[in-house]
């Protein structure tokens, strides 16, 4: 528990003058995210500790270096949880790194993405100024929503100091069901469920089987199970954890293979691409392990009405943006980090 905001601010301020890049590091668990970075490491993990937590307000505020484990532990002791079920990708994961990467877990389509739960943020911009946006209240439309802009910006717009999050009650009861389906069958089934008011909290298709998790009161889960059929999976939580943390064998990469994440409309047909695939989020997040050329993968995602991201592995063209959006993003980067020093990408 340490307040190191001034120390971090001075560090950024110093390089703002010199122009040499900084590589912001939290717990180091998601160093793979976004590709190689250059510059002096800035240890943002030192600025840690939970600042406030009001269970009845459903709001928690913590310094960015706080271990995610510590936050989830505290929430669990009050019967609450982070709604989006964020992946750790390593025990050292911090709140700051989690927000900077903007990843959400299996619950995302049903409870919301990480960015949906961010209420406020305190940051250091590229000029070494400490800024506060948003707050600790659920509804706040004063000024542009810079707090949410930080989610997934990978530290390129500012060093995160503090984040306020909306939290949710933990659901009382969970159950996982399994069905032997082909990919097209699984996509169709997910679409059908999504059209009904069912307590679904996760869906995934992997190794020829569709998994669905139900979360809610005992009666709601029981009623849904009766109407949905399927085979009950014992220790279903292990399956979802393996998927979320990508420890499942599916995610094991051979040399030269890459893991691609395709964010496409959930009902889009199975993509015909070289490699092995699985999907989550009712079809809206598809994973592809492939050594194919980035071009073809980007084209396929675009053709399906979505986007591809090179998630793990080395390669060029990790994301593809339209020229107009790319230029706008560059101008936003300059607005926050005019000297171009924060989390600069390698060659």
């Amino acid at each position: 528990m340490a307040d190191c905001a001034m120390q971090l601010m001075e560090a950024v301020h110093a390089v703002y003058a010199s122009g040499s890049p900084l590589n912001i590091v939290g717990g180091g668990s998601k160093a793979f995210c976004g590709g190689e970075r250059v510059g002096e490491p800035l240890d943002a993990g030192v600025h840690c500790g939970i600042v406030s937590y009001e269970p009845s307000e459903l709001v928690l505020t913590a310094r960015a270096g706080t271990p995610l484990k510590e936050i989830e532990g505290l929430l669990a002791s009050h019967g609450q949880t982070l709604g989006c079920e964020p992946p750790y990708f390593g025990g050292s994961a911090t709140l700051g790194g989690t927000v900077a990467c903007g990843f959400s877990g299996p619950r995302r389509p049903y409870a919301g993405a990480l960015r949906d739960f961010v209420l406020g943020a305190r940051i250091i911009n590229g000029k070494g100024e400490i800024l506060s946006f948003g707050g600790q209240v659920m509804k706040n439309v004063a000024g542009f929503d810079v707090s949410r802009l930080m989610v997934g910006a990978q530290g390129t717009l500012g060093v995160l100091l503090e984040v306020s999050l909306k939290v949710l009650p933990r659901t009382a009861h969970e159950l996982t069901l399994r069905y032997l389906y082909s990919e097209p069958e699984a996509i169709a089934r997910c679409a059908e469920w999504a059209g009904r008011p069912l307590p679904v909290s996760a869906t995934a298709w992997l190794d020829g089987a569709l998994y669905v998790r139900l979360s809610g009161s005992q009666v709601a889960v029981k009623a849904a199970t009766q109407s949905m059929g399927g085979e009950i999976v014992l220790q279903g939580e292990d399956f979802w954890l393996g998927l979320r943390e990508q420890t499942h064998a599916f995610f094991r990469l051979e040399p030269a293979q890459c893991l691609w994440r395709l964010s496409i409309p959930p009902g889009a047909p199975a993509l015909k691409l070289e490699g092995r695939t699985c999907f989550e989020w009712g079809g809206a997040q598809r994973w592809l392990v492939s050594d194919g050329a980035p071009d073809g993968i980007h084209d396929a995602a675009l053709g399906a009405g979505g986007y591809a991201t090179l998630f793990r592995g080395a390669g060029q063209e990790r994301i593809r943006l339209s020229p107009g959006v790319a230029a706008l993003q560059q101008r936003i980067k300059q607005a926050f980090d005019p000297a171009g020093i924060l989390n600069v990408r390698g060659p």
């Binding site: 307000e57 706040n140 439309v141 542009f144």
Partner: protein
């Protein structure tokens, strides 16, 4: 005439005759939005039929440096669509086509002028609805909802506009068409949708939106609890949420608001109560039954004087009708009313209501309180008479004190109505000059000309200096040792 002859001639060359209004008589309906205390005739009104026409207007205005104020249905409550005397008021209501309801991908693609309620009605045959439901939903448009990041009574459980928009097509002030997101749950790069939602028309003109649709719940039921003490009602809200129940809606009204609403719609509200709480529960049939039982028990334990569960759908709608009609109902009690929109941490509610009651006495103006209790969004309604000399100024001064109070307790000056022109001075209290400078830099990344909706949402540092800005840091007023009344 405010606009040059050359500009009007150029505008007429690119627009059909029915899309350009410039006589005083035809401009009059556009002089204000839902915040009627501020009025200004626009230089000219432009009502395009197509995206191409919107683009042509923006290109022309950018070239000739003419300000543009976008407008949806004009129901906004903060003056975000207040016209510019020398500018174009760009009305988007004619772009009102629902392009697609896509049940397979649980979303809809709409033009900006589609009305909020019309979208839910169109989705209904497919078993879906659009969750954000601002009380103006009969009239307000999706484009305006995006600009203001509108909420509604269901946003505690289902989120604001920002949580339900997955794709936007915008035109920048330079006339460049940008596609952001789509039928996907996220898009690569910076979260531009988050910045655009609630940007009050300063960053771009929305010409198409893709929004998520949710399946209609199996059952919705409402519980009404009455309390003889506002603090108890506030406590009840915390108890429900701490028990792990997230109601679809949770609304509170104080005595003045209860009496006004009851008098207006005869909803069966207990008129002697200090406060009532409406708690809507939705979901699977048996789960709802279970939660109703839990909520009823909790309310009685806390000391509710009365707990009713709507007997049928008609009574449920009647209970809501009273709440949804609270603004016009209060409006019947005085010639004018001024609606405030602060958000506070819920646990501070009792002291905030006490302070508002004190301020109401000090300024000699009645205040009725309507409260989105679940998410801490408070709407004090100040009753006044604009025809009495000085009363509007006194009302605005009282409003300003209430907003500063919201900031002092750790809240915000606007939960869902936006800053517009109305709260622009209070922005100087809520934010320091470094944050305001950052907002301006971000805005310039989208619109370096500053021609899009100028003078709204984000004050210039110069303006704040003139206002005598008093930035409250982390709930601490400057000079905290001084007493403030």
């Amino acid at each position: 005439m405010a606009m040059s002859v050359e500009f009007l001639a150029a505008l007429r060359r690119i627009m059909p005759p029915d899309a350009v209004l410039d006589t005083a008589e035809s401009l009059r309906p556009y002089e204000c939005d839902g915040l009627t205390a501020y009025r200004q005739l626009p230089g000219v009104v432009c009502l395009p039929h197509t995206v191409e026409q919107v683009q042509a207007v923006l290109l022309l205005c950018h070239r000739l440096k003419v300000p543009v104020v976008p407008r949806g249905a004009g129901t906004g409550l903060s003056g975000g669509a207040l016209p510019h005397e020398q500018g174009v008021l760009l009305g988007l209501a004619r772009l009102d086509r629902i392009i697609e309801i896509d049940p397979l991908n649980r979303c809809a693609v709409v033009q900006p002028g589609v009305r909020n309620l019309a979208l839910s009605e169109a989705a209904k045959p497919y078993g879906f609805y659009y969750a954000p439901d601002p009380s103006s939903q009969i009239a307000c448009t999706i484009g305006g909802n995006v600009a203001e990041n509108s909420g509604g009574v269901h946003c505690l459980k289902y989120g604001l506009t920002v949580h339900n928009v997955i794709g936007l097509k915008i035109l920048t002030m330079q006339g460049e068409l940008l596609e952001i997101g789509g039928k996907t749950l996220d898009a690569p790069g910076y979260d531009l949708l988050a910045v655009l939602c609630g940007s009050e028309g300063l960053l771009g003109v929305v010409v198409e939106a893709t929004v998520r649709l949710l399946p209609l719940p199996e059952r919705a039921q409402v519980v009404l609890a009455a309390f003889d003490d506002v603090a108890l009602a506030g406590e009840a809200v915390g108890r429900i949420l701490s028990a792990g129940i997230i109601p679809a809606g949770m609304e509170m009204m104080d005595n003045l608001a209860i009496r006004a609403a009851e008098d207006f719609v005869h909803a069966g509200y207990p008129v002697d109560a200090a406060a009532i709480l409406l708690v809507e529960l939705d979901g699977e049939n048996r789960e709802v039954s279970e939660q109703i039982f839990q909520v009823r028990t909790m309310m009685l334990e806390i000391g509710a004087t009365e707990v009713q569960t709507a007997r049928d759908e008609a009574e449920r709608l009647l209970f809501w009708k009273g709440r949804k009609a609270a603004f016009p109902a209060v409006g019947r009690m005085a010639p004018d009313y001024y609606c405030m929109d602060g958000t506070i941490p819920r646990r501070r509610l009792p002291e905030v209501l006490t302070r508002i009651a004190e301020l109401s006495k000090e300024y000699d103006l009645p205040v009725a309180n309507v409260f989105h209790a679940g998410d801490g969004n408070l709407h004090p309604l100040i009753l006044y008479d604009a025809n009495q000399p000085g009363e509007l100024a006194r009302t605005e001064a009282l409003g300003s004190r209430i907003l500063q109070l919201c900031i002092e307790v750790g809240g915000t000056i606007t939960g869902e109505h936006g800053v517009g022109v109305e709260k622009i001075d209070q922005m100087c209290v809520q934010f320091g000059s470094v944050e305001l400078a950052q907002f301006h830099a971000l805005r310039a990344a989208f619109d370096s000309s500053g021609l899009l909706n100028p003078g709204k949402a984000v004050p210039t540092l110069h303006r704040c200096a003139e206002f005598g800005r008093m930035h409250v840091h982390g709930g601490q007023l400057p000079h905290p040792q001084l007493e403030r009344f």
